[in-house]
């Protein structure tokens, strides 16, 4: 790792287990290069800690190229550091100055219990997705790309929604700990496309129900999610979900087996 000339003071949340008490602990990292990413800077710190025989800081990461959504952390009070359309792994140390103090905390919400230090359990997002964030049609062989025509603006909008990487920054930034943005993005994406439309009512009902039971909060249109989302997902998708859900709640009905349904 190329040695740089920045020295930083870090205050990092340490918490040995989910049940234990946590606190901010002061660290000093020396020789940080402006070309390092935020995660690489923590790698350097962890390397120092391990050499000293201390417990390294636990944090989530995987792709380190802004596409997996694992690198959840609050940097100086903002999810992913609060830079436009940027995940933590894409935050570079050139954005900080020598001598800066940086506070690093885990994402927090009732639905995101802490596992250790900066690592939180974001499986609530997966559970909401498993409740309907997919299409279950058996599609057979791939058809001709132009067999199903989708207007360009619709395809673009669906693509914007599909950009969600499930990082949870929306939940962490939302004053209500609500999961409406990632859920809205998925419901909206699939409701925009012919492949997703047939199952939209059932999907909306099941996903919203799961979201609620997992302890995510209600939307009050702060729009802080949209402002911090590293993929720039708009709350218009929440509105589309609200429409889909309203429609489904009042018009969609599946007969139970005893009523002659499947």
């Amino acid at each position: 790792m190329s040695a740089g000339n920045m020295n930083l003071n870090l205050k990092i949340w340490r918490q040995p287990t989910g049940a234990a008490e946590g606190k901010l602990v002061d660290y000093r990292v020396e020789g940080v290069s402006p070309d390092q990413s935020f995660l690489e800077m923590i790698d350097v710190l962890n390397d120092q800690l391990v050499r000293k025989g201390e417990d390294p800081i636990a944090f989530d990461h995987d792709c380190r190229e802004g596409i997996c959504g694992m690198c959840s952390m609050m940097i100086n009070g903002k999810a992913h550091g609060g830079y436009k359309n940027t995940t933590t792994c894409q935050v570079h140390m050139r954005l900080y100055k020598d001598g800066d103090t940086i506070i690093v905390e885990p994402f927090r919400a009732k639905a995101f219990p802490i596992v250790k230090d900066l690592t939180v359990d974001r499986s609530g997002i997966d559970k909401v997705m498993m409740a309907g964030g997919f299409i279950s049609a058996n599609t057979g062989n791939a058809q001709d790309g132009n067999a199903v025509l989708i207007p360009k603006p619709i395809a673009d909008e669906a693509m914007d929604a599909a950009a969600c990487i499930g990082c949870g920054a929306c939940v962490a930034s939302c004053p209500n700990g609500s999961g409406m943005l990632f859920m809205g993005a998925k419901i909206s994406q699939l409701a925009l496309l012919p492949q997703g439309q047939p199952e939209s009512p059932r999907r909306s009902l099941n996903m919203v129900h799961t979201h609620d039971t997992l302890g995510f909060g209600n939307c009050t249109t702060h729009a802080e999610c949209e402002a911090t989302c590293p993929k720039g997902i708009s709350i218009e998708h929440i509105a589309r979900m609200n429409r889909e859900y309203l429609k489904a709640a009042f018009t969609y009905y599946e007969k139970s087996r005893s009523e002659g349904g499947a």
């Binding site: 009070g77 927090r108 919400a109 919203v208 009050t220 859900y245 969609y252």
Partner: protein
């Protein structure tokens, strides 16, 4: 589970929020009609009293309308308070972060103070009904008809400086509440599209300023005019 879909709607995050939104918008509509009536104050005592008398003369119908209004109001604040309590829990408690900074592009003072401005409005509405609707009952005769002199009750009420200030403060709360609430209600109902949502927000701000401003203006006007 599907059979219970409609029932579930009224217990769900989105369903309940949509009830807060529809009742909120209905209240916004009510405020416009209330304000329009208040402007008869400027026309004169007889006009104002005649207007109030005509409403009173609706009898049973007025009773029903008032009942509906009370139900709307109760649903709105009951569900809003419930949603708010859930949200405080969902965010992970009061001591969520040692440091939390907003981006400046999302949450606003108005959106953060919704429960508080709402509670001010609740207190206001209770006192308002007590001191005006249920206030001193004077009578007057207009065109040979004996009727309540609500004009006198109103003017007497606003002689008091604290009463006028409280009224204006409540209207500031109403302006803050509706300037977020109006557009938020559209979002909750799913009526947000890049094509027009900026204008919904603008109309919300305009609504907040004009309606709350109108009420506040009339209160100050009454105060300055004196009995």
């Amino acid at each position: 589970m599907m059979a219970a879909a409609v029932n579930h709607y009224f217990g769900s995050s989105i369903g309940r929020k949509q009830l807060v939104a529809t009742t909120g918008l209905l209240l916004c509509g009510f405020l416009v009609s209330h304000l329009a009536g208040n402007f008869f104050l400027l026309v004169g005592p007889n006009a104002f009293n005649l207007y109030a008398h005509k409403l009173e003369a609706l009898g049973g119908l007025l009773f029903v309308v008032e009942g509906i209004l009370a139900v709307i109001f109760t649903i709105h604040l009951g569900l809003a308070i419930k949603l708010n309590i859930e949200n405080v829990k969902a965010r992970g408690g009061a001591k969520r972060y040692a440091l939390k900074k907003n981006t400046g592009r999302g949450t606003t003072f108005m959106s953060q103070t919704m429960p508080w401005t709402g509670l001010i409005l609740l207190a206001f509405v209770i006192l308002h009904i007590k001191s005006l609707k249920l206030g001193t009952y004077y009578t007057t005769v207009v065109d040979g008809v004996t009727m309540r002199d609500l004009y006198k009750t109103t003017m007497e009420y606003f002689v008091s400086t604290p009463a006028t200030i409280w009224y204006v403060v409540a209207m500031v709360a109403a302006a803050l509440h509706t300037s977020h609430g109006f557009a938020s209600a559209f979002q909750s109902m799913g009526w947000n599209h890049g094509k027009y949502f900026k204008n919904v927000k603008r109309i919300g701000y305009l609504y907040a300023v004009l309606v709350s401003g109108g009420f506040a203006f009339l209160a100050v006007w009454c105060h300055l005019k004196g009995v």
